[in-house]
Amino acid sequence: MSAAHWRKAMNFTAPSRNWSGGRATAAPRPTTAAPAGPSASVLQAWRHIGLRHVFVLAAVLVYPWVVPSFFTYQIGGQALVLGLIALSLTFLAGYGGMLSLAQMTVAGIAGYIVAILGVSGTPEISLGWPWWLVVVLAVMGGTLAATFIGWLSVRTEGIYTIMITLAIGMAFFYLAQQNYAIFNGFQGFQKVVPPVVLDVDWRSAVPFYYLALFWSLVGYFFVKYLIRAPFGVALQGVRDNARRMSALGYSPVAHRVAAYAVAGLIASIGGVLLVWYNGLITPGSVGTSWMINILIVAVLGGMRHPIGPFIGAVVFVLLQNFAIDLIDRERFNLVIGLVFLVIVLFSPDGLLGWWDRLRDWTTRRLTQARTTTRGNEWRSVSVSQARPLGRP
């Protein structure tokens, strides 16, 4: 059977665990000759950078210099941190097909490790180790916890995952709330601040913004790279059809657990940043409402592209801060619940879905005469589109 036949066979629309509900992905773009060497692939990577990338990058870099510090810290910093945690969920759910509600738990575990091993307002419990060691251990601990959660939950599929991760996350919340010896119970830890490194106080607005921006960009490009790398492509294959992938010699369980570990790494970094952003960690930070808020952020933005969670986070934070001007402050949950419901009911692909529709509509209007339309970059690659190099 020729490669083209295989490609055709692989593209057969099987019932998938895809987020877009089995919606067909874009037709493979006609690829030119395979890249000959590293320089060619670098060139190809540069070719993907369009005007809008430069524009967005410039905007986020200039942003803190044109807005008051409230916008830099409370809006910008928080949106980036939440976006980073939600990015881990987007990676897991959008590309791995596993909707885990425990990403906030993973972030919270990393945050608790920062508070327990580092310096906090509760010196009886906190050990006061140096910050670099604490951060490394926190990220490692969070990643390990995520791997364990993944190992537990990949035993079941699809809809069960959401229940199991929710139960795990809630169990951690109740543990943190009831246990005073390690987690300091209901009060949690206060005064967990970022260190002063290189004479910069990373707690102040602009440095924290750039710190969060740096890690968000790292996370974003890491996910973007990973979903085109052999592992990411295999993971999407597992999402679309686990049985077929296992027939091809890939291990679905190993890929899923590894995806949990990768997502845990991202969420742990986000968790460290979040505890620094808040300056405290309490059981409330890992409670059900925040576990679900991360889901809302990811779904709001759209799960088909790693930019989604950041868009979702910006909208979420703006709503959180400014919806209270329209209605009572106490009713924020009502607003966010309604927004979430509307998104779930009318736009399963989140705001990116609306953007897609808008763009489809305008391009159809603009280029009705043309016969070909461009491939859609927002969509995730399908298995046939980007296979690991060297595999026939």
Partner: protein, 317 residues
């Protein structure tokens, strides 16, 4: 059942049963009263968990809908029951109101929302999450953050003298009896009535049931109403045993989740078994290792997931 599967099943019972038995003997020798009181407490808590989780598992088994608003139905049922109880001064009316209101809400959800998302499991689940956020906030808006207590009839608030344990709240015994009666009624309904047969057929093969001329939407709506109604019923009954306050919704949602994960999703007898395990684990944790109580629950869940991913009585679907 073939011999190997039989042996294997008993192997697990021995593996976990013997150490537990040893611990139980130690507990009895150490403090007889505490042990039996804890057991009884655990069983009454299990009764409450069973009432909540049986509706959850029923809905899941037939509709494949993970109704994460189940805890909200519990809380709303409890609040509405409280309002009716205050207004009519009758606890029995409060129980009926809790059941009917939650059943009505369930019916509206099924007919108004979930029917249009049939087969889209994740979307349905997310819609239930959104609804639970909205419900929790609306409840907070209307009833505020206070703690409400029911006013049950005089004859069930006292205490009953029992051998060994001594005085024990009568209401908890009533709760236990109620759960057993409900469990038996549910079994009778599912096993002996026509609608129950349709529901069981739907759990096994939805498409085939539909093909044999049954109005599946009707069966779905009835199931959802019963499941939701049980949650509201449990809200009033459980709210009487403990109290009603914001946050109870997530607590009972967690309980239902763990109970059905442990017992097996979609199986009512699994829910009973899971409820007993989780209720006992929680109470023994509370009595013998306070502040780590939830860890016991979690360990049970992790063990079950590790060795029987579909629950103790669950079937591979």
């Amino acid at each position: 059942m073939n011999g190997i599967a039989f042996l294997r099943r008993w192997f697990w019972v021995w593996l976990f049963g013997l150490p537990l038995l040893a611990l139980a003997v130690w507990g009895i020798v150490d403090n007889e009263r505490l042990f039996f009181a804890t057991t009884l407490n655990g069983l009454t808590l299990a009764a409450l968990y069973f009432l909540v989780a049986s509706g959850f598992t029923l809905v899941f088994g037939l509709l494949r809908n993970v109704n994460l608003a189940h805890g909200s139905l519990y809380l709303l049922g409890a609040y509405v029951g409280w309002v009716v109880g205050e207004w009519s001064d009758s606890w029995l009316l409060a129980v009926a109101a809790g059941f009917l209101f939650a059943a009505l809400m369930g019916l509206l959800l099924q007919i108004g929302v979930f029917r249009y998302m049939h087969g889209e499991d994740l979307r349905q689940t997310m819609a239930t999450i959104a609804l639970s956020i909205i419900a929790a906030d609306v409840a907070l808006w209307i009833w505020g953050g206070q703690i409400y207590q029911f006013d049950p009839p005089r004859w069930i608030i006292g205490s009953t003298a029992l051998p060994i344990v001594g005085k024990f709240a009568t209401y908890r015994l009533v709760l236990l009896a109620m759960a057993i009666v409900i469990g038996l009624a549910l079994w009778w309904f599912l096993a002996r009535t026509r609608v129950g047969m349709m529901i069981r057929a739907g759990v096994d093969d939805r498409a085939m049931l539909s093909a044999s001329g049954v109005n599946v939407q009707m069966v779905f709506a009835i199931t959802f109403a019963i499941g939701a109604g049980l949650a509201g019923f449990a809200g009033v009954v459980g709210g009487t045993a403990l109290s009603i306050a914001p946050g109870e919704d997530t607590r009972y949602l967690l309980a239902s989740l763990v109970v059905v994960i442990v017992g097996g999703m979609g199986s009512v007898s699994g829910a009973a078994l899971g409820a007993v395990l989780v209720g006992l684990a929680e109470q023994f944790g509370l009595a013998y290792a306070p502040t780590y109580g939830v860890v016991f629950t979690f360990v049970i869940m992790a063990l079950v997931l590790a060795f029987r991913p579909h629950g103790i009585l669950g079937r591979r679907t």
